[in-house]
Amino acid sequence: MKVCIVGCGAVGSLFAANLARLDDVEVWAYDASQAHVDAINAHGLRLSGAGEVVARLRATTDAGELPACDFGIVATKAMHTEAAIKATAHAFTEGCVATVQNGLGNEETLAGHVTRVIRGTTFPAGKIVEPGHVQWDVRGDTTLGPFEPQPAPAAEIERLAEACTRGGMPTEAVADARGPQWRKVVFNSATNPIGALTGLTHGRVCERPDLRLLVSGLVDEGKAVAAAQGIELDPDPEELIDHAAKPEVAYNHKASMLQDVEARRRTEIDYLNGGIVRFGDEHGVPTPLNRAIWALVKGVEQSWQQ
């Protein structure tokens, strides 16, 4: 089996290195960072932290080098999906492409360039320490399922999930992957931008009763948009939010969007709250709070261009 990781940042590297441990899987990594690619080709891709792995695989910044692959796993930031799949689509003419990205709308973008698309949601997290070396912070599960308008065959989704699981990334193939995806999107949309706008960690956001009400207001809108599409969120994102606020879980965690804002990097707000607003508009569900938060974080991004 040939698998190409498209976007070999922290999450992409977790999939790449773990899959590359398997004898029956040939892994390619396509990434825009020449330094990261060169380091992987010279010394292998190293993971440390939640797991210690050094994996040999082929990395490239030139999509033209990619062979025909059975699977693609797209792990870029959501704003780079279009460019990344446009460059690599030729490698997946006969294959299936999965997204394990944040937010809403990535599947639709992939479907504009490839035929068989897999809807995915993943919880493992890490960060790039130096080129070729990724710190694996959080282990977690991945869910894969069909993108309904242009689905990959169920047997192929099973085959990819089985390989990921065997490589050390527990992955479940399901018939409807929208629930896990929306649960994560609603969770992220209700908490990440609040951290980004206030500068507070997840735990401090949740312990302010007035702010926690705002979080719930955002959750309620997201749940209503999911419900209008027949998507059930189980467990309730509220439970995930309260669980993460515990001191031993993620009380002191700075949301990735807060880290982005502090580093003045473009955020994924268009695909989180912006995605909820777009799907809400399509299904006639009002989303005034998500709309307000979307505009505020866009305003933060605009303030850097002054």
Partner: protein, 306 residues
């Protein structure tokens, strides 16, 4: 004609009043810091920008060290009003006291500390404080004055005439509430959005091209404010949305004080401005979900640095 004025609280607005009024009356400044009072006594108070002169003023940190004035202008920020008013308690019994704070409720705070006749005012002028004894006069828009407690429109007119004779703009009104509420809604909207995004009050606040454009949020916030004013029974003076559009077209990128406060990690006026609007809304059962969200976010942002 009023011959003696004490300006209590000499930030940008207080300094502009003190320097200009010193050209037509005896002016004293009640400062909080001894070095501020000393700088004013030794070097005078310099105005640059739209005016260019240096005024002689008396200055002290203890009201007992200042001559008894006919008029006291309380020009401090809303967050400093309570301690300043309590320092004035028992002093200047013959004076009329005028508040200039943003938002609602300044008159009640001051009135609780003495029986002075009270005037309300809102000011639209702006300045930048460059040093204890140097202020730049930026926007030459008017100060509007109205009677509040134990005063008539004639008293308001006398103060307006004094201010006009000093080279600033002012106007007296029978009922200040239309102007006060227009400015309240304008400040609650613009200041909070600026504080959360980091954007000065510029063209972004009137942009409506995209779904996520900030102008939509600004307009929705103004509409919530208008609904509260209507429920309270106040007919607005200027339309806050038009005030917003006009201000963004001036080409001057104004930094609202709430933005300067969060950047300097100081307490903001959010309680007197957005907090006041939200409380009025609750009293009259008008839903203001967006102002409530911004109130919670700005309050939480303050908590992140305190």
């Amino acid at each position: 004609m009023i011959r003696s004025v004490c300006v209590a609280g000499a930030g940008a607005i207080g300094s502009l009043f003190a320097a200009h009024l010193a050209r037509v009356a005896d002016v004293s400044v009640l400062a909080r810091r001894p070095e501020h009072a000393r700088a004013l006594k030794e070097r005078g108070l310099r105005v640059s920008g739209r005016s260019d002169f240096t005024a002689r003023v008396a200055a002290a940190t203890d009201p007992d060290d200042l001559p008894e004035p006919e008029l006291v202008i309380l020009a401090c920020k809303g967050t400093d009003l309570e301690p300043l008013a309590s320092r004035l308690a028992g002093h200047f019994p013959a004076a009329t006291v005028m508040t200039v704070q943003n938002g609602l409720g300044a008159e009640e705070i001051v009135g609780a500390h003495g029986d002075w006749p009270l005037l309300s005012s809102v000011t639209f002028m702006s300045g930048t404080r460059h040093a204890d004894e140097h202020v730049e006069y930026v926007l030459d828009t008017a100060t509007w004055i109205g009677p509040y407690r134990g005063t008539t429109v004639e008293d308001a007119r006398a103060v307006a005439e004094l201010i006009v004779s000093s080279g600033l703009k002012a106007e007296a009104f029978d009922d200040l509430r239309p102007a006060q509420w227009s400015k309240l809604i304008f400040n609650a909207t613009v200041n909070a959005v600026a504080a959360l995004t980091g954007l000065p009050h510029d063209f972004h606040f009137a942009q409506t091209e995209e779904v996520s454009s900030l102008g939509h949020l600004v307009r929705d916030l103004v509409d919530e404010g208008k609904a509260v004013a209507a429920a309270v029974g106040v007919q607005l003076g200027e339309d806050p949305w038009e005030m917003n559009v006009l201000a963004t077209q001036r080409g001057h990128r104004h930094y609202p004080s709430m933005l300067e406060d969060v950047e300097a990690h100081r307490p903001t006026e959010v309680e007197l401005i957005t907090g006041a609007l939200v409380r009025e809304a609750r009293r009259h059962a008008v839903p203001v979900p967006l102002h409530t969200a911004l109130y919670r976010l700005v309050s939480a942002k303050e908590a992140s640095y305190s």
